[in-house]
Amino acid sequence: MSDKVAMPDAPAIRTHRLTRYFGRRAVVRDLDFAVPRGSVVGLLGLNGAGKTTAIRMLMGFLEPTRGTCEILGHDSRHLTPQTRCRIGHTVEGHFLYPWMRVRECERFSRQTHSSWDGAMFEQSVRRFGIDTAAKVSWLSRGQRAGVSLASTLAANPELLVLDDPALGLDPVSRRALNETIVEFSEGGDRTVLLSSHLLEDVERVADRVALMVDGRMLVDSTLDDFRSRVAAWVVNTDDDPIARHPIPGLVHCRSLGNRWLVTVADPTDLSREAIEGLGGGVQQVDVSFEDAVLAYLSRSRVDHSFFTGAAS
């Protein structure tokens, strides 16, 4: 592990009651969230949950309506070019000029960065199987992602902010993307914020999970904590069990034919009693990471959230 950490305690990203309205609609609400330095955070949420809006405020592209956000210790609204050079950011869709060749893309990006690691660029494009003489317009979506990632990594950033980089990628490019993230983060002092819908990939490469529903952050914790604090039971009953019976910590209740899957966060003795009181044969079942995330995402209004939080 490298010991070259500027401010070991300061998180790479920190928001305080960050809020943004578009018209009368709150897209991001009271976000208190922190990304510890050296972590890989999977930012999860349905489309429209506010992930991209939050990222745009973090990067200083969008003014918050209220609240503050800091990135690498600086207020996002007043980032200097020097600070920006330490952040690598890819946008959804990986925009590149279609008439450029890959080599020209590299030259173009190189001019806007003070440091450039040509070997890193070569290594990254090779991983995605890209010929540097090819025109961008000839490339597949996965290969375009590769070029955009290679240009971002060659600038040697401390913090990588990837907005849905895996969208529409083929399996080979997906694997290349995951490998790139693991290698980027392996030294333990570089940070990644990764927004994604691919739960299996997030489970692989991330060590923390941040989950947004309707503009709010409902989960901000390590992956293992998140898993171990969500429990589920299968209940044999015909009618909706929660209609009769409030269950403390309930996240989601889903019908499985004539049985119900009841998912609870931080179950207490009260929750267990309530569930056992449902009768009709109750059985606790294993919860995978995907199950736990889906339980949160399936309900737009969850009244239970937890933070083991770097922010708290």
């Binding site: 489970e203 490469v205 060590d207 995907e290």
Partner: protein, 125 residues
């Protein structure tokens, strides 16, 4: 030893890694004194977060399956019991419960299961 991880399963990835190492030690696939790949190398090979591999190794070291030699990494340790009698019994019960319920589901009688287990034990010991 070939470790494979499957995201999306009910076992966390660090648990999958730890269980496969344990199994490889018990089955003789890796032997006492064999060097384990470093956390970085295994993380890269499996394409998983290095902290996940570190967590699996930490558990295996705590349970005495692996041991570290300063500056040289992790090695398969001599088998020694690090658990109390009660904990060993609990783990034995866990393992037997799984095997017995599978066997009963397959419609074997108690005698058949016992005989089979006896012959397996004789092969191993």
């Amino acid at each position: 030893m070939q470790i494979r991880v499957i995201p999306g399963s009910s076992a966390a990835i660090y648990r999958q890694i730890a269980d496969q190492v344990r199994r490889a030690v018990v089955s003789g696939d890796i032997n006492v004194g064999d060097a384990m790949p470093s956390v970085r190398v295994l993380a890269k090979e499996l394409v998983v977060n290095p902290n996940t591999v570190a967590k699996a190794y930490a558990e295996l070291i705590r349970d005495g399956v692996l041991e570290t030699q300063p500056g040289r990494g992790a090695f398969v340790a001599k088998r020694r019991s690090v658990f109390s009698k009660a904990e060993r019994l609990r783990r034995l019960d866990d393992a037997l419960d799984t095997a017995i319920s599978a066997a009963v589901t397959l419609d074997f009688s108690a005698e058949e299961i016992l005989a089979r287990m006896q012959s397996k034990l004789e092969q191993l010991m």
